[in-house]
């Protein structure tokens, strides 16, 4: 269960610096009011154009960025709170300034232990085998080596990557790298799975395999996981998601399942519905 309520985040960047002149400071509102509620046993899609604020939202969920305001909770544990005790949500700490990167709190660590996150950066260690890459993260999640190894084999079966399990990650293809990174994120059998554009760069077969794996993880046999993934690909949302949150210009503008969104927009095709909901001003123009 992941609950993101009205989070905001802004960055300061410099623009148009010349050779001798520093650029002017400008504030970018990356996220200005995104809310997502993802239930267990469901796949929730974060659908938005490039730069809509999906990745920033997910990075705040992972505790890499502190939200300027808003509330993020994973299974009732508030990200950024002091307490690590479960079921006792604490109020989030006051905002910590733009781009603030301070110590992680007990709440963040406890929330991280309940999430498997595949972010937009998912580099592997090239000199370690796929199995070692997976087991390393398992051990950091507090698993014993044997348990982590056993889990690596289980995930290899699920993701159909047994053949590469004991190969070094050096020469992996894009798909093999993605599978290893996904297995690494899932090694501690987290109740919540967060994927940031997981199908980027994958071919049809690999995308299908990933889709199957996600469906299985959603099912009761797979553990009724709460799955959140971000994407800009309509097909994926249509085929996979039980719930869709459309994000546009840093705001969540609509949510519901695919038929509900079609009805809301009054369109037949999901792509048209998305454009209408995400960019109403451009349609009007």
């Amino acid at each position: 269960m992941i609950d993101i309520q009205d989070v905001h985040k802004q960055f300061t960047t410099r623009t148009g610096a010349g050779l001798f002149k520093r650029g002017r400071k400008s504030v970018v509102h990356a996220v200005q009011g995104v809310s997502v509620t993802a239930a267990n046993g469901r796949i929730t899609g974060l659908l938005g154009a490039n730069g809509a604020g999906k990745t920033t939202t997910l990075r705040m969920l992972a505790g890499l960025l502190a939200p300027d305001s808003g509330h993020i909770a994973v299974d009732g544990i508030v990200v950024g709170s002091r307490e690590s005790a479960m079921g006792r949500p604490e109020p989030a700490q006051p905002p910590r300034g733009v781009g603030g990167a301070t110590r992680r709190t007990g709440g963040t660590l406890a929330a991280l232990a309940r999430m498997g996150i595949l972010g937009d950066a998912h580099g592997l260690y090239p000199r370690l085998s796929a199995r070692e890459n997976i087991a390393y993260f398992g051990r950091l999640q507090g698993m014993e080596l044997d348990a982590a190894n056993a889990r690596a084999e289980e995930l290899a079966r699920l993701l159909e990557m047994q053949s590469i399990l004991d190969r070094r990650a050096e020469g992996f293809s894009q798909g093999e790298r993605m599978k290893t990174a996904l297995a690494r994120a899932l090694v501690h059998d987290p109740a919540n799975i967060v994927l940031d554009e997981p199908t980027n760069g994958l071919d049809v077969l690999a995308t299908r395999a990933l889709r199957e794996a996600l469906r299985w993880l959603r099912s009761p046999e797979g553990g009724s996981k709460c799955i959140v993934f971000s994407t800009h690909i309509m097909q994926e949302v249509e085929q996979l998601c039980d719930e869709v949150v459309i994000v546009s210009h840093g705001r969540s503008v609509a949510h519901g399942n695919v038929p509900a969104l079609l009805e809301l927009a009054g369109e037949q095709r999901f792509e048209d519905a998305f454009v209408k909901l995400a960019f109403p001003e451009e349609i009007a123009a």
Binding site: G63, L64, A113, G123, Y125, P126, L128
Partner: protein, 392 residues
């Protein structure tokens, strides 16, 4: 603590699997020092050979039988050069560094002037760029002074003046340096190589585990594990420092077989580098390896790429490798502040070990304090910067 250990073992395994990089570190670390030591010993052996030969190269030996006779009485053999062609050839050889002995030139009117008491001019020809020849100039000049002394004494004695008048004082040389201290002048290059070995060992690992990890995009997933940043940083640092220490150990061990190959016997007898020295050297590196690793990591964590980090670390690499130069450029004596500068402190202490001195706690402690204070500050900085590094 467990998490730090997990990170430590992984980083160590990761670094040890990078065979090609390791090999490239080990070749300069293990071979350069001993090779240089052997080359130097060859040079010293040739000096010794020259001194043992007791030979003077003379042009115009026939012009000065008195002087030649004196030289022969000092048990020197005369290597006489005759004719202008040969003389020019010899001078050319001196300039090119082929000839290893200076040329003594006796003028044609030597005997006549000597008899007349007109002080004939004798030339000692050498080339100050030719080190081997230059080293023998002192010996030849000593012989000529001896000749002067003898002539003067005889002249005075013939006039009934006491020879004692010529020598108002007696000079006697006494070398205070112990045998080991003399050898230390040669072996003073060893500490430099061991400090460099620490640096080589730690450098790539430090950059790879910080900037490299960032460049690969594996830092962000790593930080999404519920492990405290402090534990991750300590684990990484432990692996980096251990690699630096391992290369340092191998480097100091490499000097043990190297000394068996020393070409000069007397040098071999003087050069004391056994297991106790290896151990002392190694222990002295601990604060350096700790501080250096942490500093390199702190420098690299802010860099987006390995390349940027490498450029940034040049400063530390240069500073540390130049540290031993301070002692070479300022041989006037060791200043107390040496012991407070990382690199320089280790160099000073290792030189003391080579001289056979016993180290006092007061000498060792400053380096240890500075090393570990540096470690603590740098690691704190790395832990703080880690999330900022991925948040951008």
């Amino acid at each position: 603590m467990t998490q730090a250990w997990i990170v430590f073992t992984k980083e160590l395994a990761d670094a040890l699997r990078d065979r090609r990089t390791l090999l490239r570190i080990l070749i300069p670390a293990l071979l350069m020092g001993p090779l240089l030591l052997m080359a130097l010993s060859g040079l010293i052996a040739s000096f010794e050979e020259r001194a043992e030969k007791r030979e003077v190269v003379v042009y115009g030996a026939d012009n000065g039988p008195t002087l030649v006779n004196y030289l022969q009485r000092q048990t020197y053999t005369i290597n006489s050069i005759k004719g202008d062609v040969l003389r020019e050839g010899y001078e050319k050889g001196l300039r090119e560094g082929k000839m290893a002995a200076p040329l003594l030139v006796i003028p044609a009117d030597f005997e006549a002037k000597l008899l007349a008491g007109e002080a004939p001019v004798v030339e000692v020809m050498s080339d100050s760029a030719n080190q081997r020849a230059q080293a023998s100039v002192g010996a030849v000049k000593g012989l000529l002074y001896g000749f002067n002394q003898e002539r003067a004494s005889l002249n005075l004695a013939m006039r009934g003046v006491s020879i004692e008048l010529l020598k108002p004082i007696d000079i006697e040389e006494r070398d205070l340096a112990s045998v080991q201290a003399r050898a230390a002048r040669l072996s003073s290059i060893i500490p430099m190589f061991i400090i460099m070995a620490v640096l080589y060992g730690a450098l790539t690992a430090a950059l790879d585990s910080t900037a490299g990890e960032r460049e690969r995009g594996s830092l962000e997933p790593l930080l999404m594990n519920p492990a405290p940043h402090g534990a991750i940083v300590v684990g990484k640092w432990g692996a980096v420092a251990l690699l630096g220490m391992a290369v340092a150990l191998l480097s100091s061990l490499s000097f043990v077989p190297a000394q068996w190959l020393l070409r000069s016997d007397s040098l071999q007898a003087m050069f004391q580098f056994g297991m106790p020295e290896v151990l002392a050297f190694w222990l002295l590196q601990i604060p350096l390896a700790a501080g250096l690793s942490a500093m390199l990591m702190a420098l690299a964590i802010r860099s987006k790429t390995f390349k940027e980090a490498q450029a940034g670390s040049t400063l530390i690499v240069t500073a540390i490798s130049l540290a031993p130069m301070v002692t070479l450029l300022n041989p006037g004596g060791e200043a107390a502040w040496y012991l407070w500068v990382p690199g320089l402190a280790q160099n000073t202490l290792m030189l003391a070990v080579l001289k056979g001195e016993t180290l006092r706690w007061g000498q060792v402690l400053p380096g240890v304090v500075v090393g570990f204070a540096l470690t603590a500050v740098a690691l704190f900085y790395v832990a703080r910067s880690m999330r900022a590094a991925v948040a951008r």
